[in-house]
Point group: C2
Chain length 490, copies 2
């Protein structure tokens, strides 16, 4: 008898189990389950869902049949983030090449720290990181796949700090007065980085943005000067290429000039916008990006790789090694028989590290860089079509930015009751309540998922964000019609 | 015609592609490919491998057939970390339940930050974290799945720092003199944490260990007093439950008493040893663990969950929220229609976050907690059998610890030439060179993978580490025989 506790698959025992679940998965989560005709989600509140999904962790093993039932139930009640009508976040889609690359990775279950344990993944990582650097415009440098863009931003700030003052690695921040700059519209991970790295939020200076949401270089220079006057230590600027909400691109060139002038590290958070570099037509949005010292780029966002696929890149060849090495001899033995430059793990902050490269690699060979370009261009086209459609329906819809630069389409839905009331005192307050109400109905019906948020003094507005190149202008019409249907009576 | 660039699977186009690859994967990486009769790896040095694996990122798409060939090649040349004779790292195995849970997760591709996007995964996480806390002995608290135990240790140090002085979140470390304590045998991530968090390595005090590799509480107290005398600010101790190399368990109770006396946060790094808590027979190794303020526990190590499955747990209910919250309104809107306590993301340092819960959950229901216990007990039994076998072969093998506490079995192999030379001056120097040579032969033959390392003044020794409950005492004999075969003539 095969014992069920054993941590090794057994063909005799598990083959049918695997095959049956894989069959159902292909149906329920890869093909039919994310067809436009299927629901995006089947909403249940936490109490209801707790009853529908068995939340018991039993003492005795369940049968294979029970385990299978449980997993299919998980599929049934989970949000289908691969559904074309899931446009709620900066990730979506279920790329076929990405998915199979991910599944192959899982069955090999590697950890990328030494060549001996992950030879293929090590080579793929090095090559892909090199290619991404060359797309940025760097001939040399280094990089690492990270568990998310937030983490990649932490690397950026940490490398900048090391460059500014290498002795901080040993001495710590006691007695230092480091100051970091980013825009008010930057991603919140920059702020979290200042907690984590011991810099402190009050030493994060938030720079003004223009109407499109782009960092104002004049304000930046003024604030840098101010902090120098106060005897503080400015050390880095985090610019954003593709802000989270508005999709704005900070003007990298003037910012880079300021960074050169004051000898500050320039980190460009292109977590969201980095994918635009794949397109000859749209890469101008990041012009000057090669001037950056380091970059965050999440292929799991615009390029629609599976979660997570996030990259930190720098043009400084030895900074990751210098700033992060701890030379643990139990793992990075120097008396190995092969050249230990291939053991990359000592350079990184993680020890065990999942291989996030194969999914992107598989997408790249399955589509070619031209296919990735076409993917990106398609997203811009659908965004443009959406903007045009919104403009053609001025009674109900109002754009937040009349000409968005990127694939974020932000707009207010104005139900009949509020039309023509723009000048009334409580207009904004009323408008602010519309999106959450529509969102509630949308989620409960499960027909699509679109997010909303306020920004600065702007009341709640919807944000469509495109990463799924399956989308067409018909989907754009669907999104607007559906919002109209759900919100008309509000 | 279906365009190949689209980020959406198409049944017509991709079904055969998926099925063929999955078939080959089951064969090559899940069943036959990790049978004892198959090689653990097919060694190629980086140059050779670069030719065998196509490292080209093409402009034009490859055919589905070519993509398939590439992926199967990746499988062929990758190390089979699920093979029973891969005992090189603190992770191994390919748990059947873990694997299928992971694959289901991938097809759903969630990010666990809001309930609306990941309802099922949110509930599963909450429940499993609660269960793990209750196994530790805590009635309340909080926790998070992390991208690795290193990251979990960073959370521990970060929470400790916040507790010590909440204003550091805003003010930063300027003007502070924080000091952290851990043992000389602690995992290197503690040191990396001091770089990252801005504390500085010189403010990490390394405490002496006894012969078994356990932290010496007397030395700890002395060093704490010393730093108080120097007007520094001791704030936390990181104890280890299961050290990386020797598998030692720091004595938590006396350490906890010292922490209480000096009001220090106690973080227990049980990344490796945490799994022993599942066993009634072996959980005494962590006695006193409920006294800790926080814990790192990697189910992907001893419990053999797929990479990565790492948990940070704390008994303090609001500390994650207090120390990490940035209240981003674009994601964590407070005007949602459901109770936003279910939107857990604001508490964490990451934004997008992979779901690492389902693989462990599936293992738990497939085996029951009793099965997990049997898994752990089996590993201890095989380790004990290995120790006994080593003792029975005293001419060739010498244990580093005569009675190891855990499933790390560390030993020297002594080839004929060195036998009886213990007193010669260059004995250690010669012995130091043996393990790397055997390792080279082992890797080139591909029959197994066992790691070696030096420790302190001890010359290189082998370390067998067990996480695969498929292993039996016959495998232990195989490991020793094989080392003997490979090293006899050295
Ligand atoms: C501009 C920007 N930077 C960084 C991030 C963080 O990326 P991740 O969610 O992978 O941590 C995001 C996430 O949306 C983002 O929009
Ligand atoms: C004791 C200990 N703590 C922490 C870690 C780090 O865990 P991870 O590799 O998941 O970052 C390890 C890794 O081996 C370890 O042995």
């Amino acid at each position: 008898m095969i014992k069920m506790f054993k941590s090794q698959p057994n063909k005799h025992k598990h083959e049918t189990f695997f095959r049956e679940i894989l069959d159902q998965l292909l149906l329920g989560a890869v093909f039919d389950g994310i067809d436009r005709s299927a629901p995006v989600l089947r909403w249940k509140n936490p109490d209801e869902l707790s009853k529908l999904i068995s939340l018991e962790l039993p003492k005795k093993p369940q049968t294979l049949e029970e385990v299978k039932e449980f997993l299919l139930n998980v599929v049934h009640y989970s949000v289908k983030t691969g559904h074309p009508h899931f446009v709620n976040q900066l990730f979506s889609s279920l790329d076929p090449f990405g998915l199979i690359g991910q599944i192959v990775t899982d069955t090999l279950n590697p950890s990328v720290y030494t060549y001996e344990v992950a030879p293929v993944f090590t080579l793929l990582e090095m090559e892909l990181l090199k290619e991404m650097r060359s797309i940025i415009g760097w001939e040399k440098g280094d990089g690492v796949f990270c568990p998310g863009g937030s983490f990649a931003n932490f690397y950026g700030i940490s490398c900048a700090r090391y460059r500014f003052s290498p002795d901080i690695k040993e001495e710590g921040l006691s007695g230092r007065k480091l100051v970091l700059f980013t825009s008010v519209d930057a991603h919140y991970s920059v702020k979290k980085g200042t907690f984590l790295l011991g810099i402190g939020t009050k030493n994060l200076v938030l720079i003004r943005t223009d109407k499109q949401g782009r960092m104002d270089p004049t304000d930046l220079e003024m604030r840098i000067k101010e902090s120098i006057d106060k005897d503080l230590e400015p050390f880095a600027v985090v610019a954003t290429a593709g802000t989270t909400v508005l999709g704005a691109f900070d003007p990298i060139l003037p910012i880079a000039n300021i960074c050169s002038k004051y000898r500050l590290w320039l980190h460009v958070d292109a977590a969201w916008g980095g994918g635009a570099l794949m397109s000859q037509k749209h890469r101008w949005l990041l012009r000057g990006v090669a001037r950056a010292d380091s970059i965050t780029w999440n292929p799991h966002k615009l390029l629609a790789a599976p979660q997570q696929c996030s990259v930190f890149l720098t043009k400084h060849e030895s900074i990751l090694q210098d700033s992060n090495s701890a030379s643990a001899t139990y793992l990075f033995q120097k008396d190995k028989f092969y050249d230990t430059k291939w053991d990359v793990g000592d350079k990184y902050l993680q020890c065990g590290r999942r291989a996030d490269v194969l999914k992107l690699w598989t997408m790249w060979i399955g589509k070619g860089s031209e296919g990735l370009e076409e993917h990106v261009n398609t997203l811009f086209d659908v965004a443009k079509a959406t903007v045009d459609e919104i403009k053609s329906r001025p009674e109900n819809f109002k754009l937040v930015l009349t000409t968005p630069e990127f694939v974020n389409v932000c707009f207010w839905y104005i139900p009949k009751r509020l039309q023509g009331q723009e000048n009334s005192l409580d207009y904004n307050e009323n408008l602010h309540k519309i999106a959450p109400k529509i969102k509630e109905r949308m989620i409960k019906e499960g027909t699509m998922m679109v997010t909303y948020q306020p920004l600065g003094t702007r009341p709640n507005f919807f944000r469509l964000v495109y990463q799924n190149s399956e989308l067409t202008c018909h989907d754009a019409t669907f999104f607007l019609d559906e919002i109209d249907r759900l919100g008309r009576d509000l």
